[in-house]
Amino acid sequence: MTTTGLFLLAILALGFLITFQIAKASEYVSVLKGEKKSFEQNNRINGFLMVVFLVLGLIGVYLCNKALYPKTLMPYPSASEHGENIDTMLKITLLITGIVFLLTQILLFWFAYKYQYSEKRKAFYYPHNNKLEMIWTTVPAITLCILVGFGLYYWFKITGEAPDNAMKVEITGRQFGWIYRYPGKDNVFGKKYFRMIDEADGNILGMLWKDSTMHTPNGVQNIKADPTGYDDIIETSAMYLIKDQPVKLIINSRDVIHDVGLPHFRMKMDAVPGTPTTMWFTPKYTTDEMKKITNNPNFEYEIACDQMCGNGHYSMKGLIKVVTRDEFILWRAKQQPGYKPATAAAPAPAEQPAAPADTAKKASAGALVPNSTLASNK
């Protein structure tokens, strides 16, 4: 331990000692002064502090809001339509609870101050009043019904079926990153099976790319290759979405529970191994537009894992790039399917000068992504 550390500890201990001595002395003084007198004095001090706390507390609430509100997502529009609904709901709730908060806290501390002990006052024997109690049963009940009504209206809107024209993207969580999959030209996701996952072979999702036979606890399984998966695009660097085009995410996990958290879209859904989940939304602004709106040149739509998933949880970041339709088509055209025919399975060169169209993505794709280094073949 450093000397400063010891020094700090010594100061702390000294502070304790002094506080304790003062406290003890005040006890003796109160005995000398007479218990009644010192009680009344302490009572006045605490009663006064009640109202001080109330006033300073409310000022603090205001200052805190002033300092921190700009750092939240609230000053900027939500990046999805669902998010706008959620923001509206937030404002309604904030208004109602805010009124109740102010009312009850002011009454609490004001009453405490006003009705502090005085020899002259007699407490009012007031055991119950059925009318009053009915009022504060029914008024909160009605208010809550309003909140439930608004809440469920938006809830069903958000969790309802995705529109027919929604683009489908699959997102799979794993310790500690995200894998995105697009269905390819045929618009059909190829089948996958978790026992087919082979990281060394580049099959990170367990796509049924080849026939195989395996021994499982359920007996021998013959697995047939699924050709619809040959053109699926598998990506780990970023998920590309189109502005104003609804997107339905099909959410999976490869190992433990993760959560696709999209704060700017106000969306969130768990990724549960063995139980696919879905959510849909419509991005309203491209990443570039959001950079301007938030006045932050570093703005990105980040995917934050919101469910404790292990020691790398805090670093489990994904990326969404919202682009225009044209940009998306361009990006799609550059993508290579993840499918790797058996013949090419042998040595997978990590760096291989490929056609210019392929190299664009290579830098960010990372070592786990086989698609940009291997030629497709269907």
């Binding site: 367990g206 191994p273 990105e300 805090y314």
Partner: protein
């Protein structure tokens, strides 16, 4: 003062018949260690809980250090923690171990065991007028299972692979698979063992509390004359009895998945660390969450109800006024107890739960705000036109109400599934539950300790230290948790140890440092309280009157230092409810006083 005359008269007359009370020789071990006296057991729970609270609180200081100063190293941390903080920086696995243990310890070992264990044991026999619990033996076992569970939980801190580190909710598959997280190896087995012992302790205690309240009330003590503390502790015990077994069953299935090759919670899992697909198929990870939260949500009320009950009692005594709406208070406790079982899935809105089912849980969850609102308004009316004495207990009871309002209102945000989509698992949640069930339950506990300390030890705690303790803790609690709501509104996720790599969340560096600093100050003030507590046991100002607060309830009719058996001679008979304060021009009328002919009715 009118209290106590009956005892003074009878003590000498029956003295010689009461061998059980006075002349029974007890060894140190049977009196203080394996004691069957509910008062000693209560103190054992309290002091064990306090030790746990210091450990759990210190853990939060350590991980707040990481959160406040993610880019700095503290070489002295390595001196204290060794491998946990190599090079003066807490490693991720140990950060998560600290967070997980902090949650487990505070929720279960402090605010359930420490709070219910202390006050149910101490107050139930004394306030219903019983010599002891229905089964003192079971009561003793309850403490020793708690103690055993504590030892096992503590031991997990010292094993090679570290304690469990997957969050206090212990969701599988993470908690089931050692290969997914080192903390889920032996640490998790010890965690489950400790929790199983805790559940046993909780059940032994709870059954005792319920049977004592139902069967051992003194003559005249009808259920509607019980103080609200007893009602609250009674419902707490009912909640525990009905929900803890479900938790245990969830843990047992988890244990099977871990060691017996079953697939209750596991399906379709590939572990990258071992490059292996697991054999499990067909399980549901969500099943565990249903079982867990079926306890987990009632657990919130297991923590909160005793605090509510004690706050009600202390507010009334120190306001010199009856609690407003006694029957409504009992009714709202009952409503909360019932609803507590019907809201668990609000923790699971974003797990892929059927949205329709989710909507049912929204309705039921927001319904629980109605009895909560009744309680708040009744507390406010209780202090209206009162004559308030700011004893330390009263201050903490008032603080409890303030915190309960603040934290309760944010529950209306989170219980509404629409908002929960955005706020789930963010700092908003942390702020919400720390205020509403963490700090406010602690305030209830502090209120109880200050208020009943004279009954426990026959001495007072130092008031000046108590005032400092109260004001610093109240202000500190708000300074720590209020700004966290804003972090939540920025979508900042829980359980991250470093936000600096996130463009979306790295704007709160200063705030995190500020929160960490306040947390350290508040923690050190709690040490002042602990010091005050232990110092006052031996050196505090002595209690000289039997009923120092001028209270109506039965515990203050017992001697200042009650022996095993509580009352010398007959147990007093009860003639009225517990809240006749400032009635008919009298400051208070004890429950033991018969109703006078010309007394006004309430």
């Amino acid at each position: 003062m009118s209290h106590g005359h009956a005892e003074v008269l009878t003590t000498h007359e029956v003295h010689h018949d009461e061998h059980g009370v006075h002349h029974h020789h007890q060894s140190f071990i049977s009196k203080y260690v394996f004691s069957q006296d509910h008062k000693i057991i209560a103190k054992q729970f309290l002091i064990t809980g306090m030790i746990w609270a210091i450990i759990g609180g210190l853990m939060s200081v350590l991980f707040r250090l990481q959160l406040g100063y993610p880019d700095q190293t503290f070489p002295w941390l390595e001196d204290i923690l060794g491998n946990w903080a190599k090079g003066g920086k807490i490693t991720p696995e140990n950060y998560y171990a600290l967070v997980t243990m902090h949650g487990t310890i505070l929720v279960f070992f402090v605010l359930t065991g420490g709070l219910s264990g202390t006050f149910a044991n101490f107050l139930i026999p004394l306030q219903v007028g019983a010599r002891d619990m229905a089964s003192p033996m079971m009561n003793m076992l309850s403490y020793w299972f708690f103690f055993g569970g504590s030892i096992v939980m503590m031991s997990s801190l010292f094993i090679q692979t570290g304690p469990f580190s997957g969050g206090w909710t212990a969701y599988p598959p993470l908690s089931a698979l050692g290969d997914a997280s080192p903390g889920s190896k032996t640490g998790m087995d010890l965690w489950i063992t400790a929790m199983a012992m805790f559940v046993v302790s909780s059940l032994l205690g709870g059954l005792n509390y319920v049977s004592t309240v139902l069967n051992l009330r003194t003559k005249g003590m009808s259920m509607t004359r019980l103080p609200l503390t007893i009602w609250a502790l009674f419902f707490t015990a009912v909640l525990g009895i009905l929900s803890f077994p479900v938790l245990l069953s969830g843990f047992i299935l988890l244990l099977f998945d871990r060691h017996a090759g079953t697939s209750f919670y596991l399906s379709d899992i590939y572990i990258a660390a071992t490059n292996q697909a697991l054999p499990n198929e067909g399980g549901s990870a969500i099943l565990y969450q249903h079982l867990f939260w079926f306890l987990g949500h009632p657990e919130v009320y297991i923590i909160l109800l005793p605090a509510m009950g004690m706050a009600s009692e202390i507010l009334s005594v120190n306001s010199r006024k009856p609690i407003f709406g006694y029957m409504a208070m009992v009714g709202s406790l009952f409503a909360i107890t019932i609803l507590a079982f019907l809201v668990w899935a609000h923790h699971m809105f974003v797990t892929g739960l059927n949205p329709f089912l989710g909507s049912v849980f929204v309705l039921l969850t927001l319904l629980i705000a109605v009895p909560s609102a009744i309680k708040v308004f009744n507390w406010l009316t209780t202090i209206w036109k009162a004559n308030i004495k700011f004893t330390p207990g009263m201050l903490f009871a008032l603080g409890f109400v303030s915190l309960f309002i603040s934290g309760g209102l944010t529950g209306i945000f989170l219980g509404n599934s629409t908002l929960d989509i955005h706020l789930h698992d963010t700092y908003f949640v942390i702020a919400h539950f720390h205020i509403v069930m963490g700090v406010s339950a602690f305030f209830g506990m502090f209120a109880g300790i200050y208020h009943w300390f004279p009954k426990m030890y026959g001495r007072y705690m130092n008031s000046t230290l108590a005032y400092i303790h109260f004001w610093v803790t109240l202000i500190g609690a708000y300074l720590i948790f209020w700004p966290m709501h804003y972090e939540g509104l920025a979508g900042m996720p829980r359980r991250y140890l470093d936000y600096s790599n996130w463009a979306s969340f790295n704007q709160f560096g200063d705030l995190n440092r500020f929160i960490s600093t306040v947390a350290m100050i508040v923690f050190s003030i709690q040490l002042l309280f602990v010091f005050n507590f232990f110092y006052s046991i031996f050196k505090g100002r002595k209690v000289t009157t039997q009923n120092p607060w001028g209270s109506t309830t039965l515990e203050w009719t017992a001697p200042i230092h009650p022996g095993h058996g509580n009352w010398e001679g007959e147990i007093p008979e009860v003639h009225r409810w517990a809240y006749d304060y400032s009635k008919d021009g009298r400051d208070f009328i004890p429950q033991t006083e018969p109703i006078a002919a010309n007394e006004s009715k309430h």
